[in-house]
């Protein structure tokens, strides 16, 4: 591709746009899963590039754990207003209230695992046949194995042993009633690619990605935001530190890192030098060697 001065970000971008347009063309009721994190924010920009000046051929869907950083909800609402697109919110709190899931107890309680039920209910309620997500193959070793069009059965389950072959740039989105496809347009992007793209495109991000002062506690060697959503006891010492978040998920399972990175350039150089992977800051992956594989088999993103 070098012939046309086509840089690697152009190539990744063109591939992702192609995938988004395939979703539009192949499915009746697709949706874009929007978490408020940088990967789904990148997806939104790619969707603009794929479909403007037309409307998105899908709504944005946010699975809301209720344990959010205020900044991300604020960001989400401003973004939706700017885009003029439809937002659907699936509420974990509602799933709890309806008795579909039970809140975890104890120090390490998190709503992360409960999201799956809310996600599957939301898919069923709206009859979504394709859900676009911002997962990347470099995040985790089970994700490294997943196809770009990943077929899930009626229960949202991924069967890693029965993946369809995926050849060239041809994506087979044919499914039976009740099944759905998870689509990952930025599968081939790395964390650094996403940041470089955000810089190049000048995309605004929620402020928690940048260094700020925050009350934190240390839990299992990681910094967690001191918040009503994190179960604390008398052993926990609250300290004020300069931190930022590398990924944005449920407050109760997203760890902060100490950082002075105020600007995108600082973040890019911090990541380039970092010795810890992005998911290293996710408590949910620490449970076992196959934590992600097991969650995906159960219907997780």
């Amino acid at each position: 591709m070098s012939k046309y001065n086509f840089d690697y970000l152009d190539e990744l971008e063109a591939e992702a746009i192609h995938i988004l347009r395939e979703v539009a063309g192949q499915f009746e009721k697709p949706a874009l899963l929007f978490s408020g994190g940088k990967d789904s924010i990148t997806l939104v920009r790619l969707a603009e590039k794929a479909f403007r000046p037309g409307k998105f051929p899908f709504p944005l869907v946010h699975i809301d754990t209720g344990h959010n950083f205020e900044e991300t909800i604020d960001y989400r609402d401003r973004m939706v207003a700017r885009l003029g697109e439809r937002l659907i919110v699936g509420s974990v709190q509602q799933s709890i209230d309806e008795g579909k899931v039970v809140e975890q107890k104890g120090k390490n309680a998190s709503r992360n695992a409960l999201q799956t039920v809310t996600l599957l209910d939301t898919i069923e309620k709206h009859q979504f046949d394709a859900c676009i997500g911002g997962a990347r193959r470099d995040e985790e070793k089970a994700r490294a194995k997943e196809r770009i069009f990943s077929v899930r059965d009626e229960f949202g389950q991924w069967d890693p042993k029965r993946q369809r072959p995926e050849l060239w740039n041809v994506y087979n989105g044919k499914i039976h009633k009740g099944e759905n496809v998870r689509v990952f347009p930025i599968s081939n992007w790395t964390e650094l690619d996403v940041w470089n793209y955000i810089r190049r495109e000048n995309i605004e991000l929620p402020s928690i990605y940048f260094a700020h002062d925050r009350d934190v506690i240390t839990r299992n060697g990681q910094l967690m935001a001191a918040s009503p959503y994190v179960n604390m006891d008398e052993d926990d010492v609250v300290e004020r530190k300069k931190v930022r978040f590398r990924t944005v998920g449920d407050i109760s399972c997203t760890a902060a890192i100490e950082s002075d990175a105020f600007l995108i350039d600082d973040i890019i150089s911090e990541i380039s030098q970092s010795k810890i992977s992005e998911r290293g800051a996710r408590m949910d992956d620490k449970v076992s060697e196959a934590a992600m594989e097991d969650r995906k088999k159960g219907g997780y993103f």
């Binding site: 403007r52 890693p160 087979n172 810890i276 060697e289």
Partner: protein, 416 residues
């Protein structure tokens, strides 16, 4: 900076996963927490060092059995280039997964165990490489540490492979003696093989040309989506969205829409908020035409002065990928870029014994079988031959009963 996509092939235990692990390890691409995870894993090498293969064997079943079942993608970069690696399984029963990993690659690393030399699997994998039209091949003669880093062993294997490369018409083959386990000639030049004057594997990967894979300069864009805002101020807006698969489109080019045959000229090429004067292979854009033409998803816009083949009958190579055998009596779906049409297998011309490369008549096509067939489609297909254009010369077959992708086809000749 650009991207090189490559995959590894070889028999089970030749060291594919270890080689990828070594590349990542020696380029400092493994982060501390990932390294900690593999250090804590139960699987270790005999001498107690960490088993780098665990980095790519990401599924529980793979770690349990110590084999690779499905393609794993890994990413790393150096100052020179970004790399996307597909670690593909070597077992014959996972050939379809290997074809998946190979279909998007521009380079193949074929591992040969120095103790065993060129074996049946080497032939099979090399055949797949030639079938899929992968431009560059590196033959990595691995486990040199187990043959005392012997030049004679390396030379003998090289000679043997050269004959195979010639038979398969592989254009660009490079031979490198390595030890993935010890790290010789992977990232660093080995001091234990001073007789070898070539480059380390990484150095080679950083230099090899990644110029666009498509040989064809004929402009083609399959239409994926029609953008019609239908608002008051954009009432007449009609943009044809797609990715250019080969060649270059310019504003004012005369184009033809297939299969209808309608023609028009390009009035505007857009990319989001920019207007472009041209769009080339690889770019996702939106094309506007000067006149009203009926176009929808599945149509292909081509340059009128370089029309593609158009036929309902085409001779193609077929890799069968389903556990259910090919059934010539039923109708499949053929997906060619954004177009889906009904398709039958009109004839099985021959099947290839991929271990010996012999062709023979056959009436059965089972999982992982490869051979030549005649496809008969319901609609005219605007295609190019695979050797000219991978994107416009290939398609997948779908079984509409199961919706599974059951075959990969590469168009080779017109059939009559």
């Amino acid at each position: 900076m650009n991207i090189l996509k490559f995959f590894t092939a070889g028999s089970v235990d030749d060291g594919k996963s270890t080689l990828i692990g070594r590349l990542l390890y020696d380029t400092n691409s493994i982060l501390a927490d990932q390294l900690e995870a593999i250090q804590n894993a139960n699987r270790k090498n005999d001498d107690g060092t960490v088993d780098l293969a665990i980095l790519t064997d990401g599924l529980r079943a793979e770690r349990e059995q110590g084999i690779t079942i499905d393609v794993a993608y890994k990413y790393f970069q150096t100052d020179k280039r970004k790399f996307i690696i597909a670690d593909t399984p070597g077992h014959i029963q996972y050939t379809r997964n290997m074809v998946t990993g190979a279909s998007t690659a521009n380079l193949a690393i074929i591992l040969v165990d120095a103790r065993n030399g060129v074996v049946e699997q080497t032939i099979r994998h090399s055949y797949l490489v030639s079938l899929l039209g992968i431009k560059h091949v590196v033959v990595a003669v691995n486990k040199m540490d187990m043959v005392d880093y012997s030049e004679t062993v390396f030379e003998a294997i090289t000679q043997k492979y050269k004959a195979l490369a010639e038979e398969l018409k592989l254009q660009d083959v490079t031979y490198i003696p390595v030890s993935a386990l010890k790290g010789d000639n992977i990232v660093y030049q080995s001091e234990r093989m001073t007789w070898y004057n070539g480059e380390s594997l990484l150095y080679f990967l950083e230099q090899v040309d990644t110029d666009i894979q498509e040989q064809s300069d004929k402009a083609r864009m399959p239409v994926q989506w029609v953008i019609r805002p239908q608002t008051d101020e954009l009432h007449d807006y009609r943009g044809y969205a797609g990715r250019v698969v080969s060649g270059t489109f310019k504003v004012n080019d005369q184009i033809t829409v297939l299969p209808s045959g309608a023609s028009s000229t390009i009035s505007k090429i857009e990319f989001f908020d920019k207007e472009l004067v041209e769009a080339s292979a690889g770019q996702s854009v939106t094309i506007h035409l000067a006149s009203d033409v009926d176009i929808s998803r599945g149509d292909t816009i081509v340059n009128s002065s370089a029309l593609p083949q158009e036929s309902k009958l085409v001779e193609a190579d077929l890799c069968w990928m389903d556990t259910k055998a090919l059934d010539t009596s039923i109708t499949y779906l053929l997906q060619h870029n954004s177009k889906v049409t009904k398709c039958k297998i009109a004839e099985v011309v021959y099947k290839v014994d991929i271990n010996t490369l012999e062709k023979h008549a056959a009436d059965e096509f089972k999982l992982n079988d490869i051979g030549r067939v005649v496809l008969k489609t319901a609609d005219n297909l605007p295609f190019d031959f695979y050797n000219e254009s991978k994107a416009n010369g290939s398609a997948i077959l779908i079984d509409s009963r199961t919706n599974l992708t059951v075959g990969a086809t590469m168009f080779r000749a017109l059939a009559d």
